[in-house]
Amino acid sequence: MQAYLGIDIGSISTKGVVIDADAQIIAHSYLWTEGDPIGAVKRVLAELKGQLPPAVDVVSVGTTGSARKLIGTVLGAQVVKNEITAHAVGTMSRVPDVRTILEIGGQDSKIILLNNGIVTDYAMNTICAAGTGSFLMSQAKRLGLAIDELGEMALKSQNPTRIAARCTVFAESDLVHKAQIGHKKEDIVAGICNAVVNNYLNNVGKGKKIAAPTVFQGGVSKNVGVVRAFSQVLGHEVYVDDFGHLMGCLGVAVLAKTKGNTKSFDFNIQEVSFVTKGKECEKCPNNCEIIYVYRNDDLLDSWGNRCERGVAS
């Protein structure tokens, strides 16, 4: 059986899927990158291999995420694609008529608008990470709660507290104030969930028309309180997929499938040693940071130089 591999290497987590010819997921893996993208990918590959039936032949590979170029080089990937396109393609393979994809991760958030199966617009948070997962994490800690308790607790609230959400620093002081004047904990938690939604719609989704069907992804989509807040504000159902965290790698696997440029992939790549080296060029005042990738001591590729002076020899 022919199959296709997609890997999404983010700053925090690394995700991988293998899909069959009908774009159905037949193996998947999700683990922390831990600052070592190549090591994480090797671990993901080991997990995927363990889940696959013996007769499967992976014939095309795609990579996405912030380490897509490095891992694409290491794996000899046929497709190396940015995460926005990858997420859109992956989501459409599950919800073909999706119009809006909301995504809130640990430190970034995006919105992708689609119409008739093509991406028409997107936006990402710029310099500010307010209202993302790390904000929820720090506020949960402040309230003495585990991050996965927040959602259930928010659902208990009848009367969410209003919390200033423009800036994390102000939100935090407002939060303390609201607790001190006697708001209930579940109301405050629900208030935080609403704040995340309002912050997202004001900063990332500003002025964009959020049409149904809407899919919500990223780590924060596991928080049912935020899901409910989105549904209430938008006035329509917000769909959360159990595989929501895999949409990037799924998308790039689908792209690898359509690419058609097939070549049997060898999972034994785990035993090959890959070494990367970063070096400043020093041939002009720009001092470009050049990355060299070695496979068993042979230079595989290099990048990062702005001009020919930095070409690896």
Partner: protein, 287 residues
């Protein structure tokens, strides 16, 4: 224009090199931190020139005809440079139409200070203005020819001092060209004509350079596939103008790239690549 003006008067012109990290770092050190990245780059270039020439030319350009203003950095840069580098010998022009300081008056005064004869100054100014006009016409013709290109056409809406900068803007142009897009620049079409056209988007915008760029969007709106705004952090006029345009212009895909002094090229590539994906998909389906 200034270059040919000086050369017409028989002076040697020393120009600082393309911006590199050393120049940017020097500029950051010579500026207050709230200053915009472009002004920091400018300060870096001034510092590079110190000791390499007799005079450093720092124009003050404030107000043109009809009260068209530049941004406050253009108002203030001469005084900022003078206060930051008291050891530097400066020459300047002061363009401020509300104060009777027309472009010609400004150059006349400068020529005077340089000890040139009035007739020579007049001739140098005339030739310099003509040289500038020719240069602009060449750029306009080249850009017009690019409209026939079968490639995806992307209009870059950015101030020339940002987008043509080797360190700040060029990586964006390179990324677009490597993705096989044709790059058009909003600052190339004729400024007076474009300022007039900008009125269909806003009648009250008063920054001359932003009017120019905005007018180009109107001018090219039916000839391009997408718009990329490129601005340096923190630019006051751009932040207002871009917000306004994004609300008023609806049917062209657009994205906004904000560059600051500690930018990473990775995020830039992700944004540009996905934007080009959108334009390609849109073009495919409209066929």
């Amino acid at each position: 224009m200034w270059r040919s003006f000086f050369e017409e008067l028989g002076l040697n012109v020393v120009v600082s090199p393309n911006t590199n990290k050393a120049i940017l770092d020097a500029g950051i050190n010579a500026s207050i931190d709230e200053s915009c990245t472009s002004a920091k780059v400018y300060m870096g270039h001034v510092e590079w020139l110190i000791g390499k020439c007799d005079y450093i030319f720092v124009p003050r350009i404030a107000i043109y005809e009809n009260g068209d203003a530049t941004c406050t950095k253009f108002y203030g840069i001469y005084d900022i440079v003078r206060a930051t580098f008291p050891q530097a010998k400066l020459i300047h022009i002061n363009i401020d139409y509300e104060d009777g300081q027309t472009e010609w008056n400004a150059y006349k005064k400068l020529g005077d200070e340089l000890g040139a004869k009035p007739a020579a100054v007049k001739q140098a100014y005339k030739n310099a203005a003509a040289a500038l006009k020719n240069y602009e016409l060449e750029l306009q013709a080249a850009q017009h020819a690019l409209l026939q290109s079968p490639k995806l056409k992307v209009l870059i809406v950015a101030h020339p001092y940002n987008i043509y900068d080797a360190l700040i803007g060029e990586p964006i142009v390179r990324a677009l060209e490597s993705l096989n897009a044709a790059v058009l620049y909003a600052d190339i079409p004729d400024i007076a004509h474009m300022c007039e056209k900008s009125k269909t988007i806003s009648r009250t915008m008063y920054w001359r350079y932003n009017k120019h760029l905005t007018g180009s969007i109107v001018h090219y709106s039916d000839k391009i596939d997408g718009i990329i705004f490129m601005t340096t952090f923190p630019c006051g006029p751009d932040s207002l103008a871009i917000e306004l345009i994004q609300r008023k212009v609806k049917d062209i895909p657009m994205t906004n790239l904000v560059i600051d002094s500690n930018f990473g090229e990775a995020g830039l590539h992700t944004r540009i690549e996905s934007f080009i994906d959108i334009l390609e998909a849109k073009k495919e389906t409209s066929k």
